[in-house]
């Protein structure tokens, strides 16, 4: 999460908290002034939505409880008394504590987890102010607090050591060659010197490996750190959906790199949400099918070689390949002929295709807006691979294979267009030699047979938009066969330069939006080599672009589409604006429904994205008003809201919106895909 958003959120939260505080105090003195409630409700609701946008689950949980209590008061189900107000004030205090700690970059002086749990039960419990956590004396003596940045720096420095060791090794090789060229007495002396040096380097290598292991260990955290929240999620979802579920977690102690663990959390949230909403059947349905009323969802983690396997398995209705194929055809993800050609196993992976789930949220009112494509995106980010297996009527299992860390990976080094690239071996199936006569054309592209399977063939230079070095003639070409989910492609490269363990370096903020690249590494000669982001190559391959347009050309070819973003929360506005702007859309923001109506008459927008709950005209009313105007009858509207009930979605679609995205499940990929689907 970019700090910028957190900062914006904290500033926004300050305003809402101040207004909550003062409103509540007025209300405490005049309990009859229930007219204040609506404004307070809006404050709590906006805070909740914004907190979800930036992924602050604790704040969103606290404000959710506050919202529920305020709603109860508004409906007259709860009395407005000192105790109720006290409870609300404590909620606001807790949020203030957490945000101020966030701003300072420290941990809040509050056992947040316990507070949230107690708060939800309506208990005043924990005293907020000054509760120094009693540190266990024995652990205090043996541990020190380290800044995460310092840790990362340490890991980077160890990475530098590995690179330098590689340089030494390369120099040793040179020394060997020099020795061969020398006349005998000198050669013998040099050879013995070289052997000594070799031993030193070997010992250095051993030390560096130890050091690397220890340094990495400092960044490792157990799965437990994220699983508690997941238990909550499953419990809440089960309640919401009317399911009976037993949730088990195995392998809580399995440790992973902090960065990976952070990346894993949203994936697990999506998978568990899917397991409950699409997998586990309602209790009556299960009984009727001869199953136990209560479904089981199992989350397990274990080591396998150099990676971690994380599985989410449910004993629900399973995935039906036939209906998945039918749905994919209906949504235009692929045509009937293609659908007939793929196996049942491959059919499961169709759910990963972008069009598949995006279409679902747009057309299916009861769709929950959580798509597998989101899961896939996240897995790509953490360099993992995913396997699906399922038996209709009996189970669905999603297996994630993740590296232990992202800071070092195994890669194949290849030459392409005079540059050197590293390809993570996770995506590498094999290296093949291709003769010109083995290349067939199919449609507009070329294909080869790899172990009997027809595989699209591309040139890596062409895909990357680099000048081609491909030579005509009969000499066999080198190609790498890459795999990703159920797909395979072959890419022609100039040469393979062998396998290597590479230290991953980020490209920094200047390259945040760059395509095709995962990072860079530094080779033995001290020069950088780029590490390819293989999933991007598959995306590029699908469009069958032999020579992709440069970024500028693409920009020029495309008229800047105009989007109006309407939200009373500055966090949401800023996030949506920057997500869309980064994709080349021209974005205008409006702070309320009224503001939006005014701006939309002054200028024609191609798309409107609106929140629901805003002061004055709400999102549904805004949509209706736009639909009634000549100018906006056909303009697509996307509702982004933290209201997640089916009723809200139905209302949104009835008012004329084309799509509904729940903020809790908010993902910039989902938003962008929806926007792209609607206006391109």
């Amino acid at each position: 999460m970019a700090n910028r958003y957190l900062e914006i959120f904290c500033r926004e939260a300050e305003e809402h908290l101040a207004s909550l505080q003062s409103g509540l105090l007025v209300l405490e003195k005049n309990p009859a002034r229930t007219d204040l409630l609506h404004e307070l409700l809006r404050n709590a609701h906006t805070l909740k939505g914004s907190a979800r946008m930036v992924g602050l689950a604790d704040i969103s949980a606290i404000t959710h409880t506050m919202e529920e209590q305020l709603k109860g008061m508004e409906r007259g189900e709860r009395t407005v008394d000192a105790q109720a107000i006290d409870l609300l004030l404590r909620g606001a205090d807790a949020v203030a504590l957490i945000t101020s700690a966030l701003m300072r970059g420290t941990t809040p002086e509050l056992d947040v987890e316990r507070f949230v749990a107690e708060y939800e039960r309506g208990e005043l419990g924990q005293h907020l102010s000054a509760e120094p956590k009693e540190a266990q004396p024995e652990t205090l003596a043996d541990t020190v607090r380290a800044d995460v940045k310092t840790l990362d720096h340490l890991v980077n420095l160890v990475g530098e050591l590995i690179i330098n060791k590689k340089r030494l090794e390369a120099k040793l090789e040179r020394l060997k060659e020099i020795g061969y060229a020398l006349p005998d007495p000198h050669a013998a002396e040099l050879a013995s010197f070289r052997r000594d040096l070799e031993e030193d380097v070997l010992y250095l290598d051993y030390l560096i490996q130890e050091l690397h292991g220890k340094a990495m260990g400092l960044r490792m955290l157990p799965l437990r750190t994220i699983s508690d929240g997941l238990e909550r999620l499953v419990r809440d979802l089960a309640q919401q959906l009317g399911r009976e579920v037993q949730f088990q977690i195995v392998g809580q102690a399995i440790e992973m790199d902090r960065v990976l663990l952070e990346g894993l959390k949203p994936i697990l949230i999506h998978l568990l949400t899917n397991a409950l909403s699409h997998g586990i059947e309602a209790p009556e349905v299960r009984t009727a099918a001869g199953k136990q009323r209560r479904g089981t969802v199992l989350l397990s983690a274990r080591h396998q070689g150099n990676s971690v396997l994380v599985e989410v398995r449910d004993d629900g209705r399973g995935m039906n390949p036939t209906s998945i194929k039918a749905a994919a055809v209906a949504r235009g993800v692929l045509d009937q002929r293609e659908a007939d050609a793929i196996s049942d196993e491959e059919a499961l992976y169709l759910t990963f295709r972008p069009g598949f789930s995006t279409a679902e949220i747009v057309t299916d009112i009861s769709g929950r807006g959580v798509g597998m494509d989101v899961v896939k995106k996240n897995i790509e980010r953490v360099k993992g691979s995913v396997t699906l297996s399922s038996e209709p009527g009996s189970f669905t299992q999603v297996t994630l294979q993740l590296p232990l860390t992202l800071s070092v990976l195994d890669a194949l080094i290849v030459a392409c267009s005079g540059e050197t690239f590293a390809i993570p071996t996770t995506y590498l199936q094999e290296i093949v030699k291709v003769r010109a006569i083995e290349i067939d054309t199919m449609g507009s592209g070329e294909v080869i047979k790899v172990r009997g399977a027809t595989t699209p063939l591309y040139s890596l230079s062409g895909m990357l938009g680099l000048p081609e070095h491909r030579t005509a003639g009969d000499a066999p070409l080198s190609a790498v066969v890459l795999k990703h989910c159920d797909q395979r492609i072959a890419c022609i490269v100039e040469a393979h330069l062998g396998y290597s363990e590479v230290v991953v370096k980020g490209l920094g903020k200047q390259f945040r939006n760059v395509r095709f690249l995962f990072g860079a590494t530094i080779l033995g000669d001290g020069n950088p080599a780029l590490i390819l982001n293989v999933p991007d190559l598959f995306e590029s391959g699908r469009g069958v672009q032999r020579a992709p347009l440069s970024a500028e050309e693409m920009q020029a070819a495309q008229r800047r589409l105009k989007v109006l973003v309407v939200d009373d929360s500055i966090t949401t506005r800023t996030m949506e604006q920057s997500i869309l702007a980064s994709q080349g859309y021209a974005v205008t923001t409006a702070v309320s429904g009224e503001d939006a109506l005014e701006k939309s008459t002054a200028e024609q927008f191609d798309l409107v994205i609106s929140d629901v709950e805003m002061p004055g005209i709400n999102g549904f009313e805004l949509t209706r008003a736009l639909r009634e105007s000549e100018q906006y009858r056909e303009t697509p509207v996307i509702i982004v809201s933290s209201l997640s009930r089916d009723e809200d979605k139905r209302q949104a679609l009835q008012s004329g919106a084309q799509a509904y995205i729940v903020k809790g499940a908010f993902d910039q990929g989902l938003l962008l895909e929806t926007v792209q689907m609607l206006i391109g």
Binding site: Q510, A520, L530, S550, E552
Partner: protein, 178 residues
């Protein structure tokens, strides 16, 4: 170590510190109206920006081309373990782009969000430029002027002052976001 001949490091350090502060104080008193700038050549003309943006000046190392980015990003290089971009800002300033030859340098600048390397045809070191000879840029000097603040008239011509803050904040520098 520890014998009588060893120098007293503390005394030396104190002395050094005093000299340093004294030098600073002197500089301040006489150079109030001076702007300390890094001066270099772009498109055959002399340009400058304040030294506090510059973190170092290096010879042009091997640049590794980056696929699918705008042409002003000429490549990346290894700056002591940090992957850094080498950018050609001459088109942004509307300047011709003669080949970067043997005198070519990379000026590493640190912005708010990232450090980046600016390719220059030559670097001429740090100079104190006097505000007495400064002419701010005239209004309406065209779009390319948005990155300029004005110029200093010096003995042998002029040195144009780049508005480094605006330049570094320009989205055109972000890869893929041209």
């Amino acid at each position: 170590m520890g014998d009588d001949n060893s120098y007293d490091i503390r005394t030396i350090l104190t002395q050094m510190r005093e000299e340093y502060w004294q030098a600073l104080a002197e500089e301040e008193s006489e150079a109030k109206e001076m702007l300390e700038c890094l001066v270099f050549t772009l498109g055959g003309k002399r340009y400058a920006f304040e030294t506090h943006y510059a973190s170092e000046v290096i010879r042009v190392p091997k640049l590794v081309r980056v696929p699918a980015v705008q042409s002003l990003i000429r490549g990346i290089f290894n700056l002591r373990g940090e992957i850094t971009a080498a950018i050609d800002i001459r088109p942004m300033l509307g300047l011709p782009q003669p080949e970067i030859g043997a005198t070519g340098r990379i000026l590493v600048v640190r912005g708010e969000n990232f450090a980046t390397g600016i390719l220059a045809e030559a670097a001429h070191g740090v100079q104190g430029l006097s505000f007495e000879n400064f002419e701010p840029i005239a209004a309406g000097s065209g779009i390319k002027a948005q990155f300029l603040r004005g110029h200093f008239n010096v003995e042998d011509g002029k040195v144009i002052l780049i508005d480094m803050e605006t330049l570094l904040a320009d989205p055109e520098l972000l890869a893929g976001e041209a």
